[in-house]
Every structure is written in C-alpha cells, then in structure tokens.
Symmetry: C2
Subunit: 660 residues, 2 copies
Amino acid sequence: MMHALRGSAGARSSIWTSSYSDGYSARLGLPSTHFYQTVKSSTEQRRFPYKRTTVAVAQRGGPVRALSPAMVELETASLQISQTPEWKALEDHVTEIEKTHLRDLLRDGHRSDTLFHEFNKIIADFSRQRVTSRTLELLTNLAERAKLREKIDAMFAGEHINTTEDRAVLHVALRAPRTKKIVADGTDVVPDVWQVLDKIKDFSDKVRSGEWLGATGKPLTDVVAIGIGGSFLGPLFVHTALRTDQTASEQARGRNLRFLANVDPVDVARALNGLKQETTLVVVVSKTFTTAETMLNARTVRTWLTTELGPKAVAKHMVAVSTNLKLVKEFGIDPNNAFAFWDWVGGRYSVCSAVGMLPLSLQYGFDITEKFLEGAHDVDEHFRTAPFEDNIPVLLGMMGVWNTTFLGYSSLAILPYTQALSKLAPHIQQVSMESNGKGVALDGSKLSFEAGEIDFGEPGTNGQHSFYQLIHQGRVVPCEFIGIVKSQQSVYLKGEVVSNHDELMCNFFAQADALATGKTPIELRAQNVPDSLIPHKTFTGNRPSISILLPELNAFTVGQILALYENRIAVQGFIWGINSFDQWGVELGKVLASKVRAEMHTCRTKDRNVSPTDGFNHSTTKLLNRYLEGKARLLYPEPEDVFPCDLIESDTCRPPSSYV
Amino acid sequence: MMHALRGSAGARSSIWTSSYSDGYSARLGLPSTHFYQTVKSSTEQRRFPYKRTTVAVAQRGGPVRALSPAMVELETASLQISQTPEWKALEDHVTEIEKTHLRDLLRDGHRSDTLFHEFNKIIADFSRQRVTSRTLELLTNLAERAKLREKIDAMFAGEHINTTEDRAVLHVALRAPRTKKIVADGTDVVPDVWQVLDKIKDFSDKVRSGEWLGATGKPLTDVVAIGIGGSFLGPLFVHTALRTDQTASEQARGRNLRFLANVDPVDVARALNGLKQETTLVVVVSKTFTTAETMLNARTVRTWLTTELGPKAVAKHMVAVSTNLKLVKEFGIDPNNAFAFWDWVGGRYSVCSAVGMLPLSLQYGFDITEKFLEGAHDVDEHFRTAPFEDNIPVLLGMMGVWNTTFLGYSSLAILPYTQALSKLAPHIQQVSMESNGKGVALDGSKLSFEAGEIDFGEPGTNGQHSFYQLIHQGRVVPCEFIGIVKSQQSVYLKGEVVSNHDELMCNFFAQADALATGKTPIELRAQNVPDSLIPHKTFTGNRPSISILLPELNAFTVGQILALYENRIAVQGFIWGINSFDQWGVELGKVLASKVRAEMHTCRTKDRNVSPTDGFNHSTTKLLNRYLEGKARLLYPEPEDVFPCDLIESDTCRPPSSYV
C-alpha cells in the first residue's frame, strides 16, 4: 500500500513524501492496529509508528506529526483561504451591500423570516445583519471551500486539529452522555469523562451532606476556587448566572463560592475576607500544577489555612483539579482528592471539565451542574448535525467572519439583557480573543486579513448609560443582544405600566431597532428640532446586530449559551484557516517575567538595591529602578515560621522619605 | 461699541452679525454687568440680554447662544481640523513612523528619557509609543491649531463649552478647595460645592456615629446606592479601589455599600440579598429624578422597605441625590435629605459630586473621600498649568489621538496591575466612549475620520490568561499598564523567590517589553524551535503601550487616576473638535423603548395577547410576539396591597405548555 502526499507548491509547509510500510511493521512486531510510516525528504528518510487511521506528515525542519488523511486535506484547504475565488466573491459583494441600508432591508418581511432561526426554544434573529440571501450563499460557499463541515467532523472525531500542539480538541466530549462514544487517540474518552464526573458527584455530595468534615469537625460550607484564565472566567460566568436562579439558589443555601485568580495579594485579601479557615474548602485548579499565579496563590492560602489549623489540615481542606499527581502530592494534597482532565481540553474550553464542575457541584449540587452539561450537549448536537442554513452556531460564525473581515468591523459587543449574565462577556472575551487572536494561518503563512475581533460588553441596560453613545453615533460596533423570556426574579409593582422585567426587555427590543433604522434629519426636522442640533441628534443607523432570545435562564440554557459561543468561535477559526486552539502568544510575557523576577530577587536580597543593568532596555531599567527604590527598605527577611494571621507583612514597611 | 462676527465661509454654522446695544441696555435699566445684544440675520433682528463677558451667537435656524468672544473663536478653530496643514503633516508623518520598530526606538536612551514624565509621584513612561521627537512636535502643532490651551482655559473658566446643551463643564469645580474661585454664569460655584460637601459630611457623620437611626431605632450600617451610568460606574470604581486600602477599610468596618443599577429585577435581588430593611439606608441618585431605570428600582426598593417597616420609614431610610426637589418630595423623601448637584456636572463626570461623595462618605467617612477630591484637584492643577510637553493628561490625550486617528488603532486596553482597580476600565469605558463616541464636529459637520476609541480592560495578570493572546499576535491594541509601587495588601511567604506583589509586578514590566520588542524567527531558530512552529511562536512586536506607575493606591491617588483619565479624554475631544460633553446618542433608544413599553402594557392588560402590529417592523413584531407568548399567562393582576417579602411575583407563572 502506498499513499503519497505533497504540499501545494508555493505554500510554506512542505509535506514530504510518505509511504506506509506494512512489511516493516510486521517485521518489528507492531500490532495490526498500527503501522510504520516512512517519511522521506530529498535528504532524509525516517520511520515512525502510527495508528492505522493516521498518516505521518512532516513540515520542513519540523517534527513529523500524526494526522488522518482527512486532516492533511483540511490543512491544505486552509492555505491561503483569502486567495480563493469564494473569498474574492465576498470582497466584491461588499460593494453591493454598501448600497443597502438596514432601514430598507427590514421592510422585506420575507427576508426577515428567512433570517429568523430557532433551535430547541432558542431564537436567533439575524435580520439586522447587513446581509441578503446572496450574502448567505456566498458565505456558505466560503465555508464549504474552507471545508467547514469536514473540520467540524474532524473535531468531533478526535482528530488532532490543534496541529501546533498535536492534540485533539474534545471539550465537546466533556458534556457527552454516558451512552456516547467519542474516540481520541484510539480510546473512547467518554468513560474517562464520566469516571471523573462520578467522582465529583461523590465528593460534592459528601461535602454538601456534611459527611466530609474539616479539621475541627465542622462542615465545609465555603469554597475558594483558585485558578486563572479558563480556570476562572468560565466557572465564574456559570456561577454568576446560577446564583439568582431559584432552583439553583435554593440548593446553594448556606453555602459560598468564591474565586481567586489574580496573583495580586489584594485579590487574596478580597477572596478570603470574612471566611473562616475551619469551614473553608480550597480547590486548586491547574492542569500542570505549575501555573505561576495559581500556585503562588495556593501556597498563600495554604499558609492561611495551616497557620490556623496546622499542617495536617491540608488533607481535609484542599483538593486539586490537575493531572500532575506528583506535584499535587508534593504540595500536600492527597492524590485521591485530585480530579483529572485531559490534554484535549484547552483551558478556555475547560468549564465543563472538573475545572468548573467541581466548584459548581460543591455550590449547587451535582444534579444542577449536570443540567448545565446537558444544555451544552444539546447545542453541540445541533451544531454537529444541522445543515448550515439552520445551524445557529454556524450562522453566528459566518456573520462574525462577514462583519470582522469583510465589513472591517474590529469589535463585537456582547450585550445580555440580564444581570445574571454579567460575566458572559468577560468569559467570551477570553474564549474568542485567545482562540482567534492569531496572525498566521494553520500552515504558518501570515494572514493577509484581520482575523479575531475584540469582544467586550456589559449587561443591558447598564451599557446603555455607558458606551452605547459610541455604538449609536460613533464607529460601528456589531452587537449581540441576548434576552430572556421569563426572568429568574420577577417583580410587578402595583400601579406600574409594565413589570420590572418587561421594562428591562423594552430596551432589548428598542436598541436593536434604534441601531438598525436610526433617525434621519428629515424626521428630526418634522419634530421641530433646531437646525443647529440636527446633525448632533441624527442617527445614521445601518448598524448590525443579532438578537438572541432564550425561554429562561437556568443551568440548561446557560450550557446552551456556552456551547453556542464556543462553537461559533470554532466556526470563525475554521473559516479563517487558523488554529483556534493554541495560544503561543502568551509565552513571551512569561519568559520576560521570569527575567524580571530573577532581577527583583537579586535586588531585594542584597543589603542595598542593585540596579538592574543587564538585559533590560534603558526604559525598563529606569522604571524598574524607580519601582525598587519606592520600597527601598523592603529587603526580604527570613520570615517567621508562623505566618501572620492578617496576611500583612513586610511590604507594608514605611516608604523612604521621598515618598512620605 | 460694535463687535461683528461672521462664520467662516462654507462651514455649516453661520454666525450672524451681532452688535452690542449699550444704549438699549441703559434705556431698559439693565445692570452695568449686563447688556443687550442685537443679533441680526438677513431676515431677522432680535435683542437678547447677556453678561458683559459674553457675546451672542446664532446658528442658522438654531437658538441664539451666549458665548464669550474666546469661545466663538474656539468653535471656529474646531471646524474641519482634518483640513489643516497640521493634520496633513501628521498624516504624512505616519509613513515615517511605519519605517520604525519599537525594538529599535527603545535602543535610544535619550529618546526614552525625554518620554519619561513625572508629576507628584506619578510616573508616565511613553517610550513604548510609536513616536519620535518629531511626532511630538507635530502633535503639539496640531493641539495648538485646535486651540487646546484656550479650550482648557475655557473649561476652567466656566464657558459653555458644551455647546449643544449650552452648558458649562465644571466637574473640576467639584474638587476645588474652598479657597478657589470658579465662576459659571456669573456665580462663583465653589461655595455651592462646599455647602453640599459640608452637608454630606454632616449627614454621613450622623449616620456613621449612630445619631441618625432607622425606623426601629437601629443604626443604618448598610447602604444601597441606586443609580445607573455615571451614577453607578464612578462610585463603584472608587469603592472597589478603597475597600482593600488599609486606612479606608478600617473606617468601613461593620459597614456595607452596595450598588443597584440595572433595572433587571435580578439585580434588585442581588443587591438586596441578605440585607435587613431596618439597618439599610437607600440613596437614590438621579439628577432629574426621572431616570427610568433608577426610579423603577427606587420604587421597588421603597416597596421592599415599607412592606417591612411601614410607609413612614421612607423618611428615615431613603435619601436622594437630585436637584428636582418637587419629585423628591412626591416620592416621599424629605427634601431636606436631598443632596444637590448642578447642570454643569455631566453624569459620567459626577463621581466627585454628591453622586459619589455621599455613598462613599457613608462607607468610609468624609475625611477619606475628601482626600479623593484632593487627589483629583492635584492633577487638575497640573493639567491646567503645566506646559504641554510636561503635561501628563495632555500627553496621554495626544497619544490617544495619534493612535486612534493617525495609526488607525480602534481600541485601547486599560490594564491595571492590581485587583483594586478592577472597575477602572468599566468606568473609563463609559467616560471615554460616551464622551468621544461622536460622528460630528462641534459645528455639526460630519467627521472625516474616526474619533473615540473602544476602551476595555481587565486587571493584570487576569487579562494575560484571557485576551492578551490577541494583543500579542493578533490585531494591534494600544495598551495602558498601571502599576503600584506599594501594594495595599502585601504578602511575602518564606521560601518564595519574590513577594506576591513583586510577582505581580514582574508581569507589569514584562508585558510592555514583550509587546514592544516581540520575538523574531532568528531568535526562535537560535533556540532550536522547529521550523514549522516558528511562524506560530513569532511575536511581531512594535505594539505600543504606556506604563503608568503610582506610589501606592489610596483615596488620594485614586483621585489622581480619575482626573488623569477625565482630562485626557477632554484633550482628545478638544483636538478632534467634537463636543465631548453631550450624549444625544442615548436618546433614540429611550424613545423606542417607550413605544415598546406602551405596546407591552396593552398586550398584558387585555384578556388575550394582542399582536403588536402598528409601528414595528416585521422582525420586531415577530420577536416581540414570541416574547409575549412566552409568558402567555402573565396578565398583570392588580397586585395585593402588601408586597411579597421575597420579591417574587407574577412573572414566575408557569410558562405555556409549548415551553415546558
């Protein structure tokens, strides 16, 4: 059997000739599920063992990777998407769209109907996007050219679509039901997922019921979850959404959940304020158990615990979400109290793993959080199976590409009309900007267009009294309005025109139309607005938005929202031809921080301040010196064995006279 | 005396011929401080009384306004700033700058020194901006052409620089010391300011000391401040910054301060959760006492209070920050317990008025909040008096114009390296985007360039694990790093390499250099990174940032930060030639919301749902129907006289079967 591949001419990636070597495999006794593959360039020939479903691919100078033949095709499809006729057709189409105004487009009821989509009680109305049926057709063509369907399938099939890290991307498996089979690297991962979920249920039941007690025999009613990035924003988003849900809040009665993310000691003080050690359980979330911020915070909180309760309390008061059992044990946590996840779960996609499920189950009970998984799975199945024209995450993603890349809007405002979703925008900001904030295509070639957008947002109506001025009359910012039919907490006061929730929702409906239709000088003149004010009171309109309406906000629909956004972000990356699942851009800052840390340590441990001279530029040296001088009398002492209970220590020394 | 003015040809505003009429003034007995002015167009002649320092100006079709001769000149200077040679020189200069890279610019120590600025312990390092000495020279030329100095002077002099609302802009007077004199409309406003401040001190002292008691004789330890937009984000920013400050938190011991902004009943539930009526004081903040969200929330919380304590409790448990004493009284609040502010204080600039000072003084004591005012005044004086080349708010503003308009960066990331400033970015997002998110110049002509930027941000290091990926490798986002020398809460653990705060600050230093210098393929190759990964691990660098270092974070420096940003935002607007002090863009949404509200009321009060048919487009009708149907059985009942204590009412009716 022979299978040869060659990279497309001119592309940066050069896929070498490769061939299966069944004879060689047999000779060396490789099992029949595997084979050796020979990879050959003009100067080199090497053999690698792989599973039968994969094929080895090498890039010039790079490691050989194991990919399915389908994946090889997908990578090739992503090359230079901006050079394809489908891309150029959309670029040309922009001129057509620029002749339209949403005020006119919205007069076409048929168009509105075709842009109104529903899935399982979720409504997504795209009628206020600057699109026509032709736009959708062209976007679909582009998606097909980018092999969107195949890429979605490859993701669900556990292919290593995170090519630069050679990993599968299977956060969808985290919410698959027990009956499902999802294979990664030859193994069905669903049983592993459920083994951990069962362990979470068991542990959270024990803590909640009071079977698991703290060192002094008291129930652990307060949980501090230490983690940063994906180990923080996702769980915080879900927690904020559920805390005012009536069912969930009932189950959380008497319990507290707090998060500690920032390495700033101010955040430590905030997170621990008012808590008692003897009723506090600490969950340390770090896959590798080496994340700098998380581990320093974990050691700080461990000191807070042990100062009060003694070193043995760690076993009862601290648990871990991690895969590094060795470091978990060295830290003092019983490895039996470590909850695993897997390398096919990216941090920003990890809220459905133990990262989110453990703290949320401790707070709300496993049955509530299980509904959250069900909601996410519900949308995953829709995403995996629905044809593109009815597929809400796909449509969201296509609109995102259209707005960002073709219409040139750099940002996206996420505007949920409920305070319970106040942490949605910060979470999606992370998922989207870390996933799609990339400058190169899968093959490493520089993008000839801007990919990822800047995501931000606040809940309505708060945002209306803040940045909406710009959105209405300044630069164009595509908006996503999210409304809820039934409020978690409703009030209707005697004598009011509408209920409080109806009042809120009036704004949800009004804002989308205000953006789309605007207000013309003619309308203003008809209202006798003075000429001099007309330009200031004119609204250009023609500003795109999407309206999403959910029946209510509960664990299930919060899961749906999460999966809508996660999958839409993947769609955008798939079309742009980038790797949405790596994050090399965070590395350089870490390296440079280590350098500064070493310098600070040197300066702080000498009798006098040492000027950092080597390896920093003039500006950094100058500012760093000013920083160090500002706490001139801070020389790290050998601290006392006993940690001061109020957490306040050497840093509070008086500043030098120049700062008094 | 004769004084004639005519608008520049071709501009939209036509300044009519005007003449002083001293004889007419004398004849009608106008005092010598005033005079009548005759304003004449080709078809019309009218006389208006004005103060001697003003001149009447009319725009075609618009009202006659009272401006000083200087203001007339300033408005004229703002016309078509983008048509001036100074603007064109900067446009041309972009080509020069595009040939540079920050990696190289940072090698020039002399350049770095000239871009390092200090004022009263604040350090601002501009060396990582994409500027040379030539850029600064050209920006200064532009600022002069835009009459920046004159505009700053006009603001401090109480001129009506908010031209579309014909108002002075004097939030700087809110923090002026008693000894200062600031005149608006012929009156020194400083005594008025201090009268209210003294009243705040008196009232907050009484509440804090327990002299002022609730209806059942208990001290009021908990404050709920109801307000939205500027009446919320500014006070929240300051409160968040102070709550971990050791001095401030000591004075807040045993007290709580919460904010209620969103009209969402979920936010009501969150804000009141766990509070007791008998110990709660409610501050209602609305200048006109008509803000829809604030007043509905005020009525809701009033019901919560009176249900428990009876109607008479309002007098003891509710106070107002408002100027509408009639509505305050009608609401049931004693007008003696209303704290005023003035029409020369814009909502987003109101945190130094009673809007912020009352709740903050109740929480922290007046002496702490007074220091906040002193800090803001400190920077105001620097802003008012320092030459541009040493003026930090002016330099910040000039860089903002350079980045946004000339280099074309649409956004700004505000990245404080302390959790205590976690609400700085949301507040500045409001101040900046509402002020400068405009599409027309002062004279109403359409801007030929993009003005206001999109502001967003999260505290470091949290943001590093979120959106920094995009900032490093995706589209360029100018960044502002804010660091603190002495932490509010410091920890140093035995055996650690650095203290927790030093660890945090390592990142502050590292990120700015990572953005500026990047990492080249050559450096990566030297570290044996495989060729295939090199494009993914390359950092282009050349991404601009500003580093601001403050000696510590306390009430005084929080005031400094506020004034830095407020004044920098004014500088940008002054140079762009827009009105940064109106907000017409928020009006249309309010009008449309009223229309939806009326429709909802009709539908909810009939026996059956009525389809909204008139006046809405097809999309809105469809979605609105789906919303109304979703709560089909919600027909507003006549509520019981007694408000249910748990706030939960009619909206929680079971959904129709289609939603079960």
